[in-house]
């Protein structure tokens, strides 16, 4: 059985780079900056280093505390409302900023960002296809997928 999807944007990235790098614009109030972030389907949410939040005027610890687990341990983050523009899409996202300055990754994860979009990856060619997603009609599919993942694990 074949499946067909349509996308709005094609983003070409350097397939030899560490991870899939995506240019994003972060906005908090009147402050905006452009940065490179990594696409990470293994991340439950968007996580950025604390300096970026502070740079844009945030008091990091005033946000929503959230521990994030990794294969090698956990680290503490605080969530804040950030407008993320990436490709041609703009979303209000709860972005989690790492408390510790040793955390030096900026990743676009699932809740708040990836789940608002459709993504198709041809990694060998460094091609990332992106489309907007109609959440009103397809949340069932996400729930079914999560249930399936849980059953399998």
């Amino acid at each position: 059985m074949a499946y067909t999807m349509t996308f709005d944007v094609l983003h070409e990235y350097d397939a030899g780079d560490l991870g899939i790098t995506v240019p994003v614009e972060l906005t908090i109030g009147m402050n905006s900056t452009k940065v490179d972030a990594k696409l990470d389907s293994g991340a439950g949410c968007c996580i950025f280093r604390r300096e970026l939040g502070e740079m844009l005027g945030l008091d990091i610890e005033s946000g929503m505390p959230q521990w994030i687990s990794t294969p090698t341990g956990s680290f503490l983050t605080y969530g804040h409302d950030v407008t993320i523009s990436a490709f041609e899409f703009q979303l209000n996202v709860m972005v989690y900023f790492a408390v510790d300055e040793w955390f030096i990754r900026d990743v676009l994860g699932r809740f708040g960002w990836m789940q608002q979009l459709k993504l198709g990856i041809v990694d060998y060619e460094g091609k990332l296809y992106i489309g907007s997603y109609d959440a009103d009609t397809s949340v069932d599919d996400i729930v079914a997928e999560i249930e399936k993942d849980r059953t399998q694990s």
Binding site: T33, D36, P71, S74, A86, M94, F111, A135, D136, R150
Partner: protein, 187 residues
């Protein structure tokens, strides 16, 4: 150099820590405080770190979102399973409600009715500049406007503010990490 029983002695030339105190951090810190080397302990209660609760499975939250998306369109919602902890257009208030609830790992999301379309972000000239110059700024933050370096330094906020003061409304910023990174493991 002086030793006075079981205590640390501070002289004008420095602090001497007797071998007998090795491993007795509390005593060493107390002596250093008395000597004015360390600040006195704060009268305030120490800040309690948030409980170590990691993100749980979110199936119930996603189901709730499907059922209530239209009702709370364009609002922030904080959920604990299918329980609504707070909602509104102000993320700050929703975060406050979630913190007030005592739930350790709520899901906080903005219920978008429509993904907004914006012009694409082009940082090709910034990336080219990084390829050519990154070795000159290892360990520093740089702020760029196209292929023009606006500011650099070890303090991200200062670098950003300098770029903004120079008239660059949305600078590209990057921290130049050393080139010998290991592959990123992701999550």
């Amino acid at each position: 150099m002086q030793e006075n029983g079981n205590s640390v002695v501070i002289t004008e030339t420095g602090a001497i820590i007797p071998r007998a105190l090795f491993g007795r951090e509390d005593l060493i810190v107390e002596e250093l405080r008395q000597a004015g080397v360390l600040s006195p302990p704060s009268a305030e209660k120490p800040v309690k770190a948030p409980a170590r609760m990691e993100m749980p499975n979110r199936s119930r939250e996603l189901k709730w979102i499907k059922e209530h998306r239209k009702e709370y369109a364009d609002q922030w919602v904080a959920l604990d399973g299918d329980r609504l902890l707070g909602h509104g257009t102000s993320s700050r208030e929703v975060i406050a409600a979630a913190r007030q609830s005592g739930v350790e790992s709520p899901l906080i999301v903005h219920l978008e009715t429509k993904v907004r379309r914006v012009p694409p972000i082009d940082i090709s000239r910034e990336k080219q500049w990084l390829k050519e110059h990154r070795h000159e700024y290892i360990g520093q933050w740089v702020a760029l406007d196209g292929d023009r370096l606006i500011s650099h330094g070890t303090n991200a906020r200062e670098v950003y503010e300098t770029a903004r003061e120079a008239g660059v409304k949305v600078p590209f910023v990057a921290h130049i990490d050393p080139p010998d990174q290991l592959p990123f493991g992701g999550w």
